[in-house]
């Protein structure tokens, strides 16, 4: 069934959008990522104008993250205190990110920079996570199932001032690292048009030392607010949020997120991480491939009046 999208001004198959929303929703619930880094390129691919895709995706992430976070709240796997600290950083970061984005746009080549950002960050994070979780799986196999609780290593993160107790995460650390993580994620989120979960989740695990089970819910909690803020910015400045597109994506997305959360609970943390790593590397590989291989059509059409 074809549906004409009023803001995007294109006609697309409604079931295709529902399906895409569902698949990305499952991944979102499983890994605590908003799924934007998958959905935004997919929307480009089916012919949605990039500006509309990025803005509408932000709105859709609000829905799937909200649905996901409710499931996590019930199981008490959301560190609200940590989430709030990350959120403060995130809002500052997304403000900075939008300033940076507009500056890059004035220079031209913003598309390329966005893609390079994707390739570099997805590649780095994917590779790191992959190696780390592979080692973890090997270790747990050697230990023969008797998991030995290892004491967390003390690194520079633990020697900073302004310490705060994060009961749910079982951490007593300075607020500076989570604030900085929030700012960094906010900047990248604004530039890349994503929620930033795929950067925040590994940062929380490896940099802050949070337990994996808490990370997903907390990341979703933070993403809701950052993407809601981004949606409002896009809606009021660029008029590029397509509510019909968003509804179709989020109907699939919220259902998917519920299913995904339940799958995620049944899986081991290492398995969850290695799957996320593989997915991140796959998207990175695809984007790198597109940059390196000669495209079939060298020309592209944009709105008039470039500088």
């Amino acid at each position: 069934m074809q549906i004409y999208l009023p803001i995007a001004e294109v006609s697309v198959n409604a079931f295709l959008l529902l399906g895409l929303g569902g698949i990305v929703g499952i991944l979102s619930g499983m890994f605590g990522v908003g799924g934007g880094f998958l959905m935004t390129p997919l929307l480009f691919f089916i012919g949605i104008p990039p500006a509309v895709a990025v803005a509408t995706e932000a709105n859709q992430i609000v829905a799937s993250s909200f649905s996901g976070v409710l499931a996590h709240l019930k199981r008490k796997t959301v560190d609200l205190k940590m989430g709030t600290v990350l959120l403060v950083g995130g809002l500052v970061g997304s403000g900075l990110g939008i300033i940076l984005f507009n500056y890059l746009k004035a220079l031209g080549q913003v598309d390329l920079l966005v893609k390079l950002c994707y390739v570099i960050f997805l590649g780095l994070i994917g590779a790191l996570m992959f190696i780390e979780s592979l080692n973890a799986i090997r270790k747990s196999n050697k230990a023969g199932g008797t998991a030995v609780p290892t004491r967390r290593k003390h690194n520079w993160v633990h020697n900073l001032p302004f310490k705060m107790k994060f009961r749910v995460s079982g951490l007593y650390i300075s607020v500076i690292p989570p604030l900085l993580v929030g700012v960094l994620v906010g900047i990248l989120a604004a530039i890349m048009g994503v929620g930033g979960g795929f950067i925040m989740v590994p940062a929380m695990i490896y940099l802050l030392g949070m337990p994996t089970k808490v990370v997903v819910g907390t990341s979703l909690f933070q993403i809701i607010f950052v993407t809601a803020f981004t949606t409002m910015l896009h809606a009021t400045t660029n008029y590029t949020v397509d509510v019909v597109l968003a509804v179709l994506l989020l109907v699939g997305g919220v259902v998917g997120a519920q299913i995904g959360t339940r799958i995620g609970v049944k899986m081991k943390a290492e398995q969850l991480r290695i799957l996320l790593a593989i997915m991140v590397l796959a998207v990175c590989g695809k984007l790198a491939f597109d940059l390196l291989v000669q495209p079939a059509e060298l020309f592209s059409i944009g709105a008039g009046g470039h500088s």
């Binding site: 549906i3 809606a235 592209s300 470039h306």
Partner: protein
């Protein structure tokens, strides 16, 4: 403007041996939520005071043009191993939709000079004023190629059916990815490559109903629209969560 001059010139002719009488299958196109594209049928007759001229080639050209919009065409090139946009050419006038239907291939029924004056062929309907940089033809060609691939630019050399040199009919199909605005339908009558009559009509294409309402809200009251989008998202997220916990019970 040039078309207007051409029209006035045609109007100014003292006696027209042949003129167009036209009908349109629809005088406006409404874009609804389930819009999947639309066909316009353009039909008419050639009215004459005298007998059909013998031996001359009759040409009927039907064009449908969407609103003009400036575009930028960019070309990718390899830099340090990756493909990046390197060159860009602004095209000042490019119709968002353009179809040319003729009863015979265009060059057979329209002289090059007439085409230059009236800008009928797709190639001439696109203009980049002021900037005729070297190689900008490649950019215009690319624009035509990409838009033709999307069904937005159509050249239909046998798209006009003519019977007894008197009745004619053309069907233009508009794709689903239409831009709103006034579409111009123009019908040219030619003899030996010269235009002898011209008729034009406007077909408004506009969003209606829910599509219209959402579009207006997004532009006139963006803050409210943003809040509405967010409320829908939150409600849907909560709804799905509630529905699933009910299912589990």
């Amino acid at each position: 403007m040039i078309r207007l001059v051409a029209l006035l010139l045609v109007m100014a002719l003292p006696v027209r041996a042949e003129e167009i009488v036209l009908g349109l299958s629809r005088d406006e196109i409404a874009i609804t939520a389930t819009f999947e594209g639309s066909d316009i049928e353009i039909f008419g007759a050639i009215k004459r005071e005298e007998a059909i001229p013998q031996g001359d080639d009759l040409g009927v050209i039907v064009t449908v043009a969407g609103p003009d919009k400036p575009v930028t065409v960019r070309r990718k090139d390899r830099r340090l191993g990756i493909w990046v946009n390197t060159e860009a050419v602004d095209i000042d006038v490019a119709p968002s939709f353009y179809a040319v239907a003729t009863n015979k291939p265009l060059p057979e029924i329209l002289t090059v000079q007439e085409d230059i004056n009236t800008r009928i062929s797709t190639r001439r309907a696109i203009r980049s004023v002021g900037r005729s940089a070297f190689g900008s033809d490649r950019f215009s060609d690319a624009l035509i190629r990409i838009r033709a691939g999307e069904g937005l630019y159509q050249t239909l050399p046998e798209g006009v059916w003519v019977k007894d040199d008197t009745l004619f009919r053309a069907r233009i199909s508009l794709p689903a990815n239409l831009t709103e605005g006034d579409y111009r339908a123009e019908i040219y009558l030619t003899r030996n490559g010269q235009i002898i009559d011209l008729y034009s009509a406007t077909i408004p294409v506009k969003k209606v109903g829910l599509e219209r309402w959402l579009y207006n809200l997004a532009h006139d009251n963006p803050f409210l629209y943003g809040l509405m989008s967010l409320s829908i998202a939150i409600a849907a997220g909560w709804g799905a969560s509630a529905a699933f916990s009910l299912l589990r019970r």
